[in-house]
């Protein structure tokens, strides 16, 4: 009865769930037995006709007192014993030569987690661990107390500033799972989420050793860093470099210009203005534009902000705009991929994701989740069904029909995508509409 624990993602999970479910069964049994007796007595011995009947003056029973002291005591000792035994199994995972620990150092701070692997690879809010090998995460905090909790792994430990603690677990299946912060830490406590990705050993090794991303960024000049962020963070979806107004103001000659805002005030676009616009875009809205940009507070480092400022400063029209380079492509034989996989790559390369989510949330444009086959209305009241033709049209000439509730913000891809690529995208969109 009452089995609601999450998926069993680690070796300890079935052990813990075993004693947990025993407690549930014992609890349900005793609650029903005792409350059943109470209700039975209340009915069986109910006062009849408003007159008390004779009752025996029973003051107690030593025998019963002993029974209901000893029986719960024995049950409690049994439960407590296994609680301790399983706790020891949980915290005392042995390292053996066959299965070396994956060691990860984690630092919590308001409101994110930084992780560092032993080879120096660093990530934020994401860890990748191999299936079948124990992972040990050493926790500490830079500010207040946080707590690291992966429900499917059944582990949790506080990250205390000035001290180290750890969790250790052996994943048993691949998948993606959330990790929560479970010690209250202020404003964005509930969005301090990390993603735990369990992959095969081979994929883990490939991922861990691929450090091109970080290394190239470390060696970059601020301008180059800014230019790569302009693509990686999807700024280019809304801010052009050639003076054309897209969803947001162009970056051309932005720096040093006077900005007009919807409330009539003005300011000069200096470093502070750009920083504020990245972190808290809603605080000042340029006249003629809408409040659509997501806030990057907590998602971008000071270094990166400086890079972006330097990059924007260079866009003054004095030199030809250098074509932004996307992150280095790994050599992949596209023909070996399925259409859905190729579509997913396009979804990322063409940064569709900045405006179209996969989880159902509405960003600048409609989410791709369950889009395929959906019925809806355009702003002109006409109805549509999201089939292949509709999607093809929306990619090539998005301005021709606008879905109700959205604005005309998407650039046309006429002449920029091959027919095969559009088919791949349709396959991908179809794939996120089926199943869950």
């Amino acid at each position: 009865m009452f089995r609601y624990l999450p998926e069993q993602g680690s070796e300890i999970a079935p052990r813990l769930d075993w004693i947990h479910n025993w407690i549930t069964d014992l609890s349900v049994f005793f609650t029903i037995a005792i409350c059943g007796a109470m209700i039975y007595f209340a009915i069986r011995y109910r006062k009849q006709g408003g007159v008390d009947h004779e009752t025996p003056r029973i003051e107690g029973s030593n025998f019963l007192e002993i029974v209901w002291t000893v029986v719960p005591t024995i049950i409690c000792i049994w439960v407590a014993y296994y609680g301790i035994v399983i706790y020891n199994e949980m915290v005392d995972v042995k390292e053996d030569p066959e299965k070396e620990f994956v060691l990860i150092n984690a630092q919590g701070y308001r409101w994110a987690w930084d992780f560092q692997y032993q080879n120096g690879k660093t990530t934020t809010n994401e860890i990748v661990v191999p299936v079948g090998r124990p992972t040990k995460i050493i926790l500490t905090s830079r500010d207040v107390i946080h707590s690291f909790f992966i429900p499917v792994m059944r582990v949790k430990k506080d990250a205390v500033p000035g001290a180290y603690s750890h969790v250790v677990f052996t994943p048993v299946r691949t998948g993606e799972y959330p990790a929560f912060c479970t010690e209250y830490c202020g404003t964005n406590h509930s969005s301090m989420l990390a993603n735990v990705r369990v992959v095969s050993e081979a994929e883990f090794q490939r991922w861990k050793n691929d450090r091109s991303d970080e290394l190239s960024k470390l060696a970059m000049s601020p301008v180059d860093l800014g230019r790569s962020l302009y693509v990686d963070k999807g700024c280019n979806a809304c801010h052009s470099l050639d003076g054309s107004a897209v969803v947001g103001p162009t970056f051309l000659n932005l720096f040093g210009s006077e900005r007009k805002f919807t409330d009539g005030t003005t300011t000069v676009a200096d470093e502070n203005y750009i920083r504020e616009s990245i972190l808290y875009p809603a605080s000042k809205i340029s006249a003629g534009y809408q409040n659509l940009m997501p806030a990057f507070e907590g998602q971008i480092s000071d270094n990166e902000i400086q890079g972006l400022i330097e990059f924007i400063r260079t866009i003054d029209g004095s030199q030809p705009v250098p074509e932004p380079v996307a992150a280095e492509e790994e050599d992949v034989d596209l023909s070996s991929l399925t259409p859905v996989e190729r579509g997913e790559r396009l979804y990322r390369e063409k940064i569709c994701f900045t405006c179209h989510s996969l989880d159902g949330s509405a960003l600048v444009g409609p989410s791709f989740k369950d889009l395929y086959g959906r019925k809806g209305k355009f702003t002109d009241g006409q109805e549509y069904v999201a089939d292949d033709d509709y999607i093809r049209g929306s990619i090539l000439e998005p301005g021709s029909e606008i879905v109700e509730g959205y604005v005309n913000a998407m650039p046309p891809y006429q002449g920029q995508l091959s027919d095969e690529q559009i088919d791949d995208l349709i396959a991908f969109i179809q794939s996120v509409s089926n199943g869950d």
Partner: protein, 544 residues
């Protein structure tokens, strides 16, 4: 039955009682009558109960769907802090002892008043000062949670000082009340009122008073240290200065675990009084029930670190605290078994106080058994700081302490006011509270099982259905309390139905004087010559 019986019932006209022997606002503000002080406490804490309850409903409304609805995260954090701090420090810690304890204790032991009546009034005003300080903190809201964990509370807004200062002052009120009750029970029992004849409510109040006196100073020191840390930077909790934030948690829970028993032990006492009267049976295993109260009070001091199993304390101490925590389960189970056995072969009438007592037993079974999960070391690692803990805590405190208080209000209402309330309306309120409460918190157990952490402004979409059920339940629950308050206030101030001195035909001392009692409780000091709860016909072998 005692040799004392009321005579004033048959006096001519409107007999003088504690409510009308003196009139005017000064006669209330400067009263040293334990009954009037009890009523003043009652109205004050109930006001805060409503404030804290409205905060809770606002929280539930925000949580009824995923994502931000009408609050910002910061407003949400302030609201759950206020809900916790107001409900704990201003409502349920004074709770039953300061209201029903003040009113009933001298009546139950045949005394004219508590041992130190002026000190009693001082307790009330110390409480008022603390309450005002807590209200001041509202102007620059506090967002630390009612636990004030360092180092978060060290650099959060300045209201932390006001709220912790308030909790410090309120602690003195609690200590003074506890001291007063201990001395009263030791020194002012009427002739024949041996320790083995004390009503279980008095025993429970005694055990509570011991905790109030011994544990409260520790939280006082802790909160002063926290204020000193903020103001002078002494570096005892702040890791940036070599302090230890986990030490704060030890200090805090050394008080704040026993304080749970300050809240709930008096409710145990209330249930132990109600069930015999409505079953016409002696309380089964009276002595075991009394010893169990003391055992809970003592063991309750030794289990504080079960709030800290994942805080980084050593595995050895975690094991120790897990084992001792199970030690609290046994005396609690003994009480439940004895209450239910009292009903065996009784003559049971299901009037409102008895309905609340039975609801209490059901809710406390859930509270107790879910406590077993949390005492179990490995399982607590999973459940710590999830909604499971939130639900467990509310089952013990709302399902236990608050239901106990509401049961007591109905049970002793005729004695306190001299009026009778509307029975049907009262049962209606009971039904809403019972259904609404369970609908609020049973889904939260499920949320905890699914891994939903507590104190979350927003949550993953998978948690939404249970949150919706919980919100619906919370509003039904609130409606139930509204019915109860309207019904009781109506009866007290506008009601026409006069209560007899002993409407339930109880044998306890407080029912032997008139309703409401006279200023000094009894016309003459009563003499007790029988065991408590001498209901029914004596049987062979019925004794211990």
């Amino acid at each position: 039955m005692s040799s004392y019986s009321a005579t004033a019932d048959h006096a001519n006209g409107d007999p003088k009682n504690y409510l009308n022997w003196e009139t005017g606002i000064r006669s209330w503000l400067f009263t040293v009558d334990h009954k009037r002080i009890g009523l003043m406490y009652l109205f004050t804490i109930m006001t805060f109960f409503i404030v804290g309850g409205l905060a809770a409903l606002t929280i539930r409304l925000e949580l009824s769907s995923a994502g931000a609805d009408f609050l910002t995260p910061d407003q949400y954090n302030v609201l759950f802090t206020l809900h916790g701090a107001i409900m704990i420090f201003l409502f349920i810690v004074p709770g039953i002892p300061a209201t029903m304890g003040n009113f009933l204790l001298p009546l139950m032991i045949g005394a004219k008043d508590v041992a130190f009546p002026r000190l009693n009034l001082l307790s009330y005003y110390v409480y008022v000062v603390g309450a005002i300080m807590a209200l001041i903190s509202l102007f620059s809201p506090i967002d630390t949670g009612w636990t004030f964990y360092a180092p978060y509370s060290l650099d959060s807004g300045s209201a932390v000082i006001w709220m912790t200062g308030a909790a410090f002052i309120l602690g003195f009120s609690s200590i003074l009340t506890g001291l007063n009750f201990i001395v009263t029970i030791h020194k002012l029992r009427c002739p024949g009122m041996h320790w083995s004849r004390l009503p279980v409510f008095v025993w429970a109040t005694y055990a509570t008073a011991v905790i109030q006196t011994l544990a409260t100073p520790v939280v006082g020191m802790t909160l002063v240290l926290l204020i000193a840390e903020r103001v002078f930077g002494v570096g005892i909790f702040d890791p940036a200065m070599g302090g230890d934030p986990v030490l704060y948690q030890h200090f805090f829970w050394f008080y704040s675990h026993p304080v749970v028993y300050i809240m709930v032990l008096p409710a145990f006492g209330v249930i132990g009084e109600i069930i015999p009267v409505f079953s016409r049976k002696p309380l089964f295993g009276y002595k075991m029930v009394c010893y169990a109260s003391l055992a809970i009070a003592v063991v309750g001091f030794l289990v504080w670190a079960h709030h800290m199993f994942v805080s980084g304390i050593s595995d050895m101490s975690a094991i120790y605290f897990s084992i001792i925590t199970f030690g609290v389960a046994i005396p609690t189970a003994i009480k439940v078994f004895n209450w239910v056995s009292t009903m065996y072969k009784g003559s049971i009438s299901l009037e409102t106080p008895m309905l609340y007592a039975m609801a209490f037993i059901f809710l406390f079974m859930i509270a107790g058994t879910t406590g077993i999960y949390l005492a179990t070391l490995a399982v607590d690692v999973f459940y710590h700081d999830t909604y499971f803990v939130v639900a467990h805590f509310h089952y013990t405190i709302q399902g236990g302490a608050v239901i106990g208080l509401i049961a007591a209000l109905h049970f002793w209402f005729p004695k306190m006011t001299g009026k009778m309330y509307n029975e049907n309306m009262a049962r209606f309120g009971w039904l809403f509270i019972f259904v609404g409460f369970n609908l609020t918190f049973l889904p939260q157990f499920v949320l905890g099982m699914e891994g939903m952490p507590r104190r979350y402004f927003d949550y993953l979409p998978q948690f939404e259905p249970m949150h919706q059920l919980s919100t619906i339940g919370a509003f039904l629950n609130g409606l139930g309390y509204l019915f109860v308050f309207v019904n009781l206030l109506w009866a007290a101030f506008l009601g026409k139905v006069k209560a007899p001195s002993n409407p339930y035909n109880s044998v306890s001392l407080e029912w032997q004087t008139q309703s409401p009692p006279i200023h000094e409780n009894f016309e003459e000091i009563p003499v007790v010559d029988e065991e408590p709860y001498a209901y029914g016909v004596p049987v062979e072998g019925g004794a211990h």
